[in-house]
């Protein structure tokens, strides 16, 4: 079971260290590392420079294991209702991130160079307001799957860093930004519930 969980986390992270997969899964580093090493031993993952990645064989094995592993969750009403609301908020998150990246000047879209802190602050406030709605939603889904709480915490951590002026934590690609964590949660839910991403 350790190996399956670790592989599921790795599938969301794509290319990551055992520690960051463990963080995503709200698990402990040693168990996850053991799970990933077991996957490597069976040719289901490869490792390089302390980071892991699923092999094509691993992807197939994971897809085959999902229906049985997530059988109960896929009919869990709390999770399904939560997911429906999550999809609704997801549209708003994408819109907000777009507004964060592109501003309108004299009616024309222009990349946001973040020279206008007042504009940035307003957008951040809106993301925070959305987070106030997302947080209880995620915690409620965690009644069915406790590890999901870690996403709520990681989203709060990203927002805290943004408040401290590290604005790359809004949508930065290389850090656990709000957008990165949100997207990982989305990917996790899609895999859990066997749904397809719309775009």
């Amino acid at each position: 079971m350790n190996k399956f969980n670790a592989m599921h986390g790795l599938a969301i992270k794509k290319f990551a260290s055992a520690a960051s997969v463990a963080d995503l899964l709200a698990g402990n580093d040693i168990d996850v590392a053991a799970g990933l090493e077991a996957a490597v031993a069976e040719g289901q993952a490869v490792s390089a420079k302390g980071a892991f990645m699923l092999s094509p064989k691993g992807h197939t094995a994971l897809a085959e294991a999902y229906p049985e592993a997530f059988k109960a969750l896929r009919t869990d009403k709390t999770l399904l209702d939560g997911y429906a609301q999550f999809e609704f908020l997801n549209g708003e998150v994408k819109q907000l991130i777009t507004e964060w990246q592109t501003i309108e000047i004299a009616g024309e879209p222009v990349p946001n160079d973040h020279s206008d802190s007042e504009h940035d602050k307003k957008t951040i406030d809106r993301i925070a307001a959305l987070h106030d709605r997302a947080d209880p939603l995620i915690r409620n889904m965690a009644v069915s799957l406790p590890r999901l709480v870690r996403y709520a915490d990681r989203l709060s951590e990203a927002l805290d860093r943004v408040d401290d002026g590290q604005i790359e934590f809004v949508s930065g690609v290389k850090v656990s930004s709000y957008h990165t964590v949100w997207f990982e949660l989305h990917e996790d839910l899609l895999r859990l519930l066997n749904r397809k991403r719309e775009e």
Partner: protein, 505 residues
Amino acid sequence: MTDTLNSGVISLILDGTSLPERQLIGGKAWSVARMRSLGLPVPPAFVLTTEACREYFRNGGTLTESMLASVRSGIAHIEEATQRQLGGAVRPLLVSVRSGAPVSMPGMMDTVLNLGINDTSEAAIASETGSSTFARDSHRRFCEMFARIVLKSPIESLSPQADPSEWRTLIAKSCQKAVPTEPFEQLTLAITAIFDSWNGRRAKRYREHQGIDHAMGTAVTIQAMVFGNTDASSGTGVLFTRNPLTGAAIPYGEYLECAQGEDVVSGSHTPVAIERLRECMPGVHAELMRAAQTLEREGRDVQDIEFTIEQGKLYLLQSRSAKRSPAAAVRSAVEMVREGRIDEAEALRRVSAQQVRLLLRPALSANVDTNSEVVLARGEAASPGAGFGIIVEDADEAERIAATGQPVVLSRPTTSPEDVHGMFVAQAVITERGGSTSHAAVVSRQLGVPCIVGCGDGALQGLVGRTVTIDGNGGYVLDGQLRVDQPQEDADPFLRQLRDWAKAR
């Protein structure tokens, strides 16, 4: 200098006779007071000071009798100045209520507009403006803002088709609290909510991390709303003291006759260029231009000015440093040095490395005419710039080919986090599905990679292996390797000047 911070001043009329410290009245009220002291026309306003906020918390989180009295006399001042009455059945007064801490911080409650509206004043506004639609809409917007900001209701929007009593029922159900109809009660609840937001989680945490004194407090500014939609000699608009796209020192603005500010923002009306105002109200136009010059001179920066004209009288609602494109940032900084408004060091401070990077982003050569090129696909331009390369449809392959030094364009039906490593190395990203908010668009903009999304199902399938050029500004996938220019600092005279100043330091 008197110590106004501990003088017990809990409220001030912002009539321009004095310019109190920002610490006492907050940024918003300070800018109103400053505009008044420059002799500029601003709607009448008063402020509850940061001292009132401290007093509020000392009083256990309730407004004191003397604060309530100050609010009453402040409102009386606005009523006198506008010849309107809060909650009145004829010429009703509506006010805006805004928070204003001495320093900006996250999580503070923002603004409630149209406060004072109820069924009586809605009817009065309908007859005054001749538009029952506008009056009803003002009422709805007030209920939405009040519900969300003051009552913390989860309701996002109210249906324009429903009526006010239905809105109020819906809101009361959502949060077990009602939107009051009595204007003074609306006002005290809004003030209380602003003071309380000072101790919200984000604001508190921010102060702790930044070492800001919790005792600083926030001020509350209460200001008359003016109507730009009462008759043909009324209107609303936005004026930039310089062109915000190019930076040219020519005022640039939009004006909407007989309309309210929200109409410009909502796009429900198409505004016309500011020159229209010169034709229909030359006196007001001239006054606006003078005010714009004053504000730019005082602010020592390009200003973005919101104004409303109510029955032939100009009001300035807000003036702030203007958002501008990177090109405008560079040009206006250089020209303001030449005009003697700022020094070279300040000009250099005003242009960020990020702005210069955006200016120097590769673009399709001006010599390329997209009309005469073969367009292989077309989609929504989601991240600007240009790039060329061989089309690959897999992120791993993109990484592999790019590692050999060969430029690649990543083509996907859609992208997901699994594709990000391929997006890192691609010269451009194109997708078949999705819009400007899709994953591909968001990540590409973040990486500064040109991107076109939504080219259509199947539109990109036959293109794998071809060399193409992506025009991320126009949204074209063009056949072959076309000329893409890397802008040089030297080519832009303003950028060159900035660089020379930087070198001389």
